[in-house]
Symmetry: C2
Subunit: 749 residues, 2 copies
């Protein structure tokens, strides 16, 4: 038996204001248990914490114990308070306050080796007492909590494999949830709105089975950040923070029909080995979410070395939806900036040779000569061009001219490098080299041309998810970027992961994404990773991670379209972990006007303008074609004017899937910008300008939907109004169905 | 239906001398079938050829046909002859003749799409006719055949996944075989000698289950090169040539007990999903070997892009065992040298700080301070040294001095770089950085010291099978080697492969090994890869691949020992594909004489000397300690003298597992060396020196086992005799049990 004194008391910790209350204790079986409340109302009912380890074939005798679920005793407790204000390299506000109370409990677990066969040859196998300890750390904020598991370095927990993490979040009722089907390889589904009890019946129709990446695992599996609202008006959000070298977490809901965690989902395109709870443990109560990590190719969830820790599991809560958007809880739970020099990192507005390819009017590829392409065997200069290649010198110069004229910083060019003839879903390892341009893309000339006009090109590295190939070429690819003056790269991870059997959100892939960010930082390169795992605030630590896609972006407007409320949900869900390269700005929403694509974007022009405010990102694209912006140059003035880095942000109105209105003060200026975006219902409101400087006058330009504007029937109807305003003035705002409003407030003097 | 004329005749092709006969035809079901005979005696009875593809989730409608087994028609046939003599960069002979008759048959397979559900929305799904073609190419040599599948680029066979290759080799009788258990991750078992019909009952005892890498898949699965001998004295060997970016082949024997290909092997440490033959096909006849490829993490065997081909499947045959050793069939089936400049590649004799660590007297690691090590967190200069670290300045200088004094070219140093405290079987990705030396290894000083004495250090990169980590650091590691003047690296792949779920001999790993060789060539670095896949003659194409381990090497003499006949088998099996870094030269065979290790090597000193001839390699180690060689300096003279590159080689005597005697003429000289190695029975013979130059006199030194020498009781008893010999003289040779003989013949004038 252990000699040190053991404590059995329950701990209670309040947030600094007292709004959030956390309780922790061991239940009768020694299972770690926590509860959480907000202003006295339950948020998380008693929920267990723990992990199952996997039996490793290399484990030494007596060390194959896999239970980190129960049988714990408390060995130590520490409660502390922390209050600090820090400045992000870029962000929604100049200062971020990180104020929490912390409770760290050290738990020990003792067990005896199974009785071995003892003989003269193996006296070392005599049964003996073993001991492990872990720490569970809670941080309690006024707007929620973070909790994580920590594994100190110790003889009996050194290297270990995770079979599953079993962190529970037992909800207090049948909340409304905005959810995506839990999936190991895609995050690009449309958000579902339903009661928790309806998830199972809605699940199959929620999956876009036509997406070749679909890898769902449970009929109640959902992704984070998961936004919920209780019947009595509490907003609750579950996500994670600082997910580095650990598998991305999904949540599996226990409902009345749940028989086991996890049953195989019949019909799923990727086979999955069920991972039931050990039979020793009863199923959690209905309305409990249980963590479900993304597996590696062998079905396991993590290979760990102590000392180490899991990401933070976060539960945000408020009775005001705006707090869900203004909270910095996720960023605060990440580590401070790890880069010594961040002077080369800058918010960026850009346009690009991209939308016309997404729509299908031009191509990434250069030739149609070959049914398949070996990069090493083909001389592209001798191929017959297909005449549709988008990334050609003439077109890129046109975009550079447009960017220079309109104050855009960079020009993205996709399809500049050889290999696009066959690149996706081929299980093709050596798919791109990231350094060889097509014959009609003169990389030296175009970069020099851009630089002469004060513009940079923005690099594109589609990896086709062949991560081994990308890692083999990355250093040379970054050297090429340095040579020609690129300072940012958009990466892509379309299709199945190579090495085969791995998934987009596994521990190994999460390590890869961060490896790329770190290597890029050595070259002073900013990264905007598409199809990579959903962010968890790592941009605080590595601020050259300026963007991610990791959700359904504007490209889907060319793939059948997204619902009008889509962008009123994303800030509550996807954006909790970091900015999204949503690529807004579609002015000509009926694609058939200029292409063979009959998709259409369900948004008005003013709705598009509003996204530059409501979808916060330091990287903002003007995604439509230059000629489309030239047709609506008076509206485009807002995109020319709008900032993408801020000293202050005030969420004025918010309701998930309905509307969001935000005012932001541009970095280092006295200018403000306001954006309001609404769903298919339209939105009307009166905004009081009490955040403006007292005594200062502002030239106010309002880009508003016309009275008869409508995302379907009349999306290009807008009215631009100019007036002078001051602190305390009120603005009456009208947003059409699927529309929005955008306002610039330029300070006089 | 296809319009082109189809041929139905059987083809017969003879080797240039007529000794080997090949027959090819389609059977009634359109299955490709071949037969092979030698001097009229059957070698391969009628055997099928074919592959099964896997259904890919991305296959377009109608393109999910997976059968490449039957239903073929012959569309074209080509028979040609080829005769060329080429010069290897290094080798057993100066010239190699490549003389064969070739037969290439183009096979087409047509099928109709399954009837689809046709509707207004999917008219493109109407059933239609499909067509694929493949080529099977045979090369018929006087000492055997090679055959391979080729997949031309075509619309209906572009990218594809291999479920299994089903190449059959139906043996004509119950031959004696020298076999290793088929295994996805280790080749380091002792060879079994048994009848084919005894493999199943011998299988479990043939597996060293204590080896943590064991991943066997079938109770009749064996490795190649598989050496056999028929009851009527035919020597038959099955292997493969030019295995690049394709999974390594095993063979699964169909015997009377076979119920299905492949049944899961209960008790194997790695789970394996059985891969039975499609039910449409009957089991092959008993005594048929069927190819079985190494799977990737998902259980599939290959991801291919046309145009492409499989490796050559080889069947060597002769009625004289010596032809098995002198044949260049495997090298000839490989592509010519792909390197423009090979001037930097050189055969090498070396010693190293290695054996004392293998034996356990010193350590690779530097400190015992930590239960686990994070390279990024530890300052080794502040650690407490364990006092056992082998790769220290003083010791390395001692080895450099020894090498310089004795004409050895290089000194291997293992354990020079940080991370050896915990490196194997931990699932630890970031295990080594390959550039940071331990504090007591002054890399600059030691290289300068070595160079000042005309010696180089030989680099060591143990990857711990964390291939992702190695590929991330490789370029920097090679740059470090260039900086300090290393020109060769010994790599290692101990433990489980990372990425998890992959195997040592999979397509992906075979690609990795060759990737390393190619990248090394760019840096003028020679590679000697341990635990990598068994070689298949790729050293012809990439002659900087100067060695491989890929079998049970001398290290096992410290792990319990190997049988005395072990080195009389390896040249017939493992060495068919390329040289082995066997690390011979153990003089003090009782390890307990100088360490706590009670293993002992089952060989006499003269047996050890003989290995420098009988185990051909351009890379030869003097593996024992300098002080041991100094004790037997007169015997060590042979190691000082012996060459490791040759103009000519004559196998004088050979019988698998019994004895091998070979004479070799040292490159660019008139000197000859003879080595004879025998099993536990001893061996006596009379060698006639008719290969010497007429009229020339030679100073002959014979290193022979003493009369009472014996590998167990008297291994260090030898007699050195000097005399002058000339062409036609006879030498009477006596080899003790587990012994051998070594002879130098130094030409006068």
């Amino acid at each position: 038996m252990l000699a040190m004194p053991l404590m059995a008391m329950a701990a209670e910790v309040s947030s600094p204001s007292g709004n959030v209350q956390l309780k922790f204790y061991l239940d009768n079986g020694g299972r770690p248990t926590y509860e959480m409340s907000y202003k006295g109302r339950p948020v998380v009912l008693p929920s267990h914490l723990g992990l199952e380890l996997a039996r490793d074939k290399h484990a030494s005798a007596g060390m194959d114990e896999t239970d980190l679920m129960a049988g714990f005793q408390i060995a130590d407790e520490q409660t502390t308070e922390f209050d600090e204000t820090w400045q992000p390299v870029w962000g929604e506000t100049k200062d971020i306050r990180n104020h929490y109370r912390e409770y760290a409990v050290t738990l020990i677990r003792q067990w005896r080796s199974a009785p071995p066969v003892v003989g003269p040859g193996n006296p070392q196998l005599a049964p003996r007492q073993h001991l492990r300890n872990i720490v569970i750390r809670f941080r309690v904020y006024d707007e929620g909590i973070g909790l994580r598991y920590e594994f100190p370095q110790q003889q009996e927990l050194n290297y270990f494999l995770i079979r599953e993490e079993r962190t529970e979040f037992r909800m207090a009722g049948d909340h409304t949830a905005w959810w995506l089907p839990g999936d190991y390889d895609t995050q690009e589904q449309e958000t579902q709105q339903s009661k928790l009890s309806e998830i199972r019946q809605r699940f199959r129709e929620a999956v876009n089975w036509g997406n070749s990446s679909v890898a769902v695992f449970s009929e109640t599996g959902v992704q984070t950040a998961l936004q919920m609202k209780s019947d009595d008006g509490l907003y609750i959000n579950i996500h994670e923070a600082a997910c580095a070298d650990y598998a991305t977490m999904h949540l599996e809901l226990v409902d009345e029909q749940t028989k086991a965690l996890t049953t195989e989902l019949q019909g799923a395109s990727n086979a999955y080995t069920p991972n039931p709870l050990p039979s020793a443990y009863p199923l959690p109560q209905p309305f409990t979410f249980v963590s479900h990590l993304t597996p590696d190719a062998t079905g396991l969830k993590g290979a760990m070395q102590t000392p180490c820790q899991t990401p933070w599991r976060t539960v945000m809560v408020s009775d005001d939806a705006r707090d869900m958007l203004s909270s910095n809880l996720i960023l605060n739970l990440n580590e401070p900036c790890a880069l010594d020099d961040t002077s080369w990192i800058h918010p960026t507005k850009y346009c690009g040779v991209w939308w016309e390819m997404i729509v299908g009017k031009s191509q990434w590829s250069y030739t149609w000569d070959y049914p398949s392409v070996y990069l090493s065997n083909i001389d592209y200069s001798k191929c017959k061009p297909n005449g549709r290649h988008g990334a050609n010198n003439e077109k890129v110069k046109r975009y550079i001219d447009f960017a220079a004229k309109n104050g855009l910083d960079e020009v993205l060019v996709e399809g500049w490098n050889v290999g696009w003839e066959d690149w996706a879903n081929m299980w093709k390892r050596d798919v791109f080299d990231f350094v060889t341009a097509y014959p009609d893309f003169d990389i030296k000339m175009l970069n020099e041309y851009a630089h002469s006009k004060g513009v940079r090109l923005l690099m594109h590295h589609e990896t086709s998810s062949s991560t081994q190939n990308y890692e083999r070429h990355m250093e040379q690819a970054f050297q090429l970027m340095n040579k020609y003056g690129y300072d940012a790269v958009k990466t892509g991870y379309v299709g199945d992961i190579i090495p085969r059997g791995d998934h987009h959100y596994s521990q190994s892939m999460n390590n890869h994404y961060l490896y790329v960010v770190k290597e890029a930082a050595k070259h002073h390169i900013m990264v905007n990773a598409h199809e990579a795992t959903r962010p968890t605030g790592l941009c605080r630590t590595y601020p050259n991670l300026v963007g991610n896609e990791s959700a359904r972006g504007t490209e889907y407007e060319a793939f059948g379209g997204s619902r009008p409320d889509h962008t009123c949900i994303l800030p509550f869900t996807r954006l909790q972990g970091g900015p999204m390269d949503y690529t807004p700005g579609i002015f000509v929403t009926r694609l058939s006007e200029w292409s063979d694509n009959d998709s259409w974007a369900r948004i008005t022009i003013c709705g598009s303008l509003a996204l530059y405010l409501t979808m916060y990102s330091p990287l903002q694209m003007a995604a439509d074609l230059p000629e489309h912006y030239e047709r609506f140059d008076d509206a485009f003035q807002f995109i020319r004017d709008v900032a993408c880095d801020w000293d202050e942000s005030i969420y004025l109105e918010a309701e998930p899937a309905d509307y969001i209105t935000v005012a932001r003060k541009a970095k280092g200026t006295n200018n403000w910008f306001i954006g309001g975006k609404c769903d298919e219902q339209g939105h009307q409101s009166v905004i009081k300008l009490d955040f403006l400087d007292k005594g200062r006058k502002y030239d106010c330009t309002i880009y508003a939907d016309a009275k008869d504007a409508h995302y379907e029937t009349n999306p290009q109807a807008y009215v631009i109004t100019k007036r002078v305003v001051k602190q305390g003035d009120k603005l009456k705002l009208n947003e059409a169905p699927g529309g929005g409003v955008a306002i610039s407030l330029m300070a006089r003097e």
